[in-house]
Each structure stands twice: as C-alpha cells, then as structure tokens.
Symmetry: C2
Subunit: 252 residues, 2 copies
C-alpha cells in the first residue's frame, strides 16, 4: 500500500527522509463506501486527501440537477490537494468504488513544505498534473464526438492505473456505470448506451456486470485521439505498446 509514494515518485525519487516525512503526515487509512460523498461543494476543509485504493471522482451539480464529472482519480492521486490553498470547495468529491483514503491536515502539509521544500514542489507538481488532465478534458468536450470522448476517457484512466502498476495493458476493468460515463463526457445516458454498444460491436471493449473492459487498447487509443504527452509521465511509466500518434494517423 505505498501508492501515495509510488505516484509522486514518478516525477522524482524521494529521499528516505522525505518519504518518511510524507508518510508521517498522512493520517490513518480510512474506508469509504462506494458512492459515498467525501467532500461537498461549499464546504471549508482543514485537510486534504490522498487516495490509497479504489477510484474517486469529482463533480459539480448545477441548479437544474445536471451533474458534470470533472475528474476520475486513481490510487496515488491527491484529489483535493488544492483545498490547501483554496479552502472552500468549488465542487464535490465522492467515491466511485469502495476505497481507502488518508487525510492530511493542512497544517501538516505546511510543515512538510517548510521542512522539505522539494516535497512542496512535488505536491505542487501533482496539482499541475491534474490541471493538465483538466485541459485535455476541455479539449475532449470541446472538439471530439461522443465516440472519441468515451474512448479517450477510458484510455486516460487506463494509462493512469498502468502508471502506478495496477492496470494491465491487455485487460483492465472500469467500474463506472453508463450514467457516470455520460456525466463525465457530457452526453445523455441513452446516447452513452448507444456509444458503448457501438464500441462493443467493433471489438474495442466488453461489458461485464456494470464495468467496462478494454479488449483492444491500441485501437481504442486511436479512436480517442489519445496521446500520452499530456500526462507528463516519465518514459518508463508508458507501456511499450503505445504507438506514436503520428504513426497511427498514417495507418488510419
């Protein structure tokens, strides 16, 4: 269960002291029930969260009831680290699956940064990775159609899981309902269903009891126009099977 370290160390290995300080700052592991909310929009928090196991998502609900999912977080992520600097949440956060998290009091974060400035930069960098992903989501929603958006989303989560050594390239399960997927890529449930079915028909994915499995990752990446660059992963965290987008374009 060393995920929090594993992901932050993708950027730069930690010294033993830094690693110890980081772990010491985390509270005890906490179990969260699937579908449970963790923080709600408008709340003021005095601690941030690190995700140890399971999937967390962030979302906003509009006055008319529409929900937009903003991010899907994998183990090793710090989903609400920003609350260290923007105390009142401008969105909500909940558990997609059963998951275990740990809390970091903001005071502990401050102390951590004071004593280990480089750790502060790594934490800042983590929030910048989330921004990079957010930018790609804007692109996804802005220019791609439902089919490509879906493919891109699935590829992204796969890549994030693979980067911390959880997902297999060949086979990986995504426990999101079609309602969730629809709210993430901005289409209705009905249309999401038809999109998923088309993907199944074309052999890209398979569905099994409320979760999605990747059957053909390269073709899925191609369908979504997926390019690893925006994840800013070190080369070793990218699967060797990934073909450069340029190559795929010429093939398609």
């Amino acid at each position: 269960m060393d995920y929090p370290i594993k992901k932050i160390e993708l950027a730069n290995p930690l010294s033993p002291e830094e690693r110890a300080a980081l772990i010491a700052a985390c509270g005890p592991p906490i179990d969260v029930a699937p579908r449970a909310d963790i923080v709600l929009e408008g709340e003021r928090t005095e601690h941030s969260t690190v995700l140890l196991d399971g999937l967390i998502y962030r979302y906003k609900v509009l006055p008319n009831g529409d929900r937009q999912i903003l991010a899907v977080h994998t183990p090793g992520d710090w989903p609400d680290l920003h609350s260290y600097l923007l105390k009142t949440m401008d969105h909500s956060m909940g558990a997609l699956t059963r998951c275990t998290i740990a809390h970091l009091p903001h005071s502990a974060i401050r102390q951590l940064i004071d004593t280990h400035p480089r750790l502060g930069e790594l934490l800042w960098r983590e929030t910048m990775l989330d921004s990079a992903i957010l930018r790609e989501w804007v692109v996804n929603l802005g220019v791609r159609d439902a089919y490509a958006r879906t493919a891109h989303l699935v590829c992204e989560i796969q890549a994030k899981l693979a980067a911390v050594g959880i997902a297999d390239v060949a086979y990986f399960e995504l426990p999101m309902t079609q309602v969730d997927l629809g709210d993430a890529i901005g289409v209705s449930t009905v249309h999401m269903n038809r999109t998923v079915q088309r993907m199944k028909g074309e052999g890209l994915i398979a569905c099994l009891n409320r979760s999605i499995t990747i059957l053909d990752l390269p073709r899925l990446q191609h369908a979504g126009g997926f390019d690893y660059a925006y994840l800013h992963l070190p080369p070793r965290a990218r699967p060797a099977t990934f073909l450069e987008p340029l190559l795929l374009r010429e093939t398609g």
Copy 2:
C-alpha cells in the same frame, strides 16, 4: 502598471520585501504583437510569463486542425506558471490582443520561493485559480448549450477584468472574433454567429468592430448560470451588483 502585484494581492497583501522581490524577479516588459504566438506545444521553456497588459489565450490544436481554446488570461495572470514544474508545454499560448508581458526565469522563481516561502504559496495558489476556472470550463462545455456557454464565458472575462480594476460593470469590450469565441466554447463559427446575433437581439450584448460589449450584465450572468464562487475572489473584488444565483433563479 502594477497588475502582477494587484492580482496576486487579491488573496493576501504582500509585504514590501515580498513585493520588491517579486518585481525584481520579473524581466523587462516585452511587447507582443496581436495574434502572435508566445509558446508552442511541445516546447521546453526555462521561464514563465506574467501578463502585464492585454489578453493572452491558451489553446491546443488537434491533428485534424481543430483548435480548442483552453483559457483567456487577463492582466495580472501568470498564464504558463505551470511550466516551472512541467517543463514541456502540452499546449500553446498566444496573444489575443497587443499585449505586454514579462518573463520570469524558472531559476528566479525557485530563488523567490526559497527566500519567501509564502510567495511560493501565493504562486501555487495562482495556478490553483486557473484550475478552478478550467473546471468551470469543463462544466460549461459539458452541460450548457451554446447560448449559455457564450454568456458564461463573457461573464467570466468581465469578472476577471473587474477584479483587477480594469473593466467597468456597465460597459466593457471583449476583442475576440467569433472564430475565437467558437473555438473557446466548442461550437462552429456559423453557430457562434447565430448565437451572438440572438444575444444582440435580446439586448444582452452589442457588437462593434470585432469586439463584444456587455449591455446587460445581470441578465447575461443569469443566461450563463454564472456564479462568482469558482473564481475564489475576495468579497471586495466582486461587484455589488452581483445577485446571488439563487435569487436569480427565483426571478427567472
């Protein structure tokens, strides 16, 4: 021309030493021609930018030529501060209007943070504000229609300009073409044009030589479902004319 200070001080006033150090870290002011690119996707930079005057935008271009605008920056913003931590740009940045910027070498930023840790937090916070806006863009693209998206975008830029004391509540110009607006909210130029015309017809905005003027800010905010909260502005930086969304909902 103290915009860089003015915006960062919205969160917290700087001490004289901090202010001096921040200004000292900035290079000399640089003029940028309208429509000129400042950094391109894929480049590795050794400095970040602060916007002193004019408007900057960030964007991605897809292999098929589609462009998605990711952000519109106003004076006092640090549009590519993230490059301090993610050296290679995952998107491009250009000038919307003629504008003046200053460069901050990454080495200067590091030194700034080392000697003034609180300044480091304020810079981090600036990047978190950009993330908050990015989240709202995801919502905008995901759940709102073209009309509301346009209204929301215009309101956002107005609010940002007003926060640093540039835009007037009653009257303010936005020098973006309809092509730009379309690429920002993810609709075609043709549809953007029809949306703008509808807004003109309803008396929300007016158009004058390639720029847009707000005529009725409250109604525009209502149309876009605009809520100041996500900008995390201190109360004094919000116009008194802003009505709480709840209030507007009951009115509409």
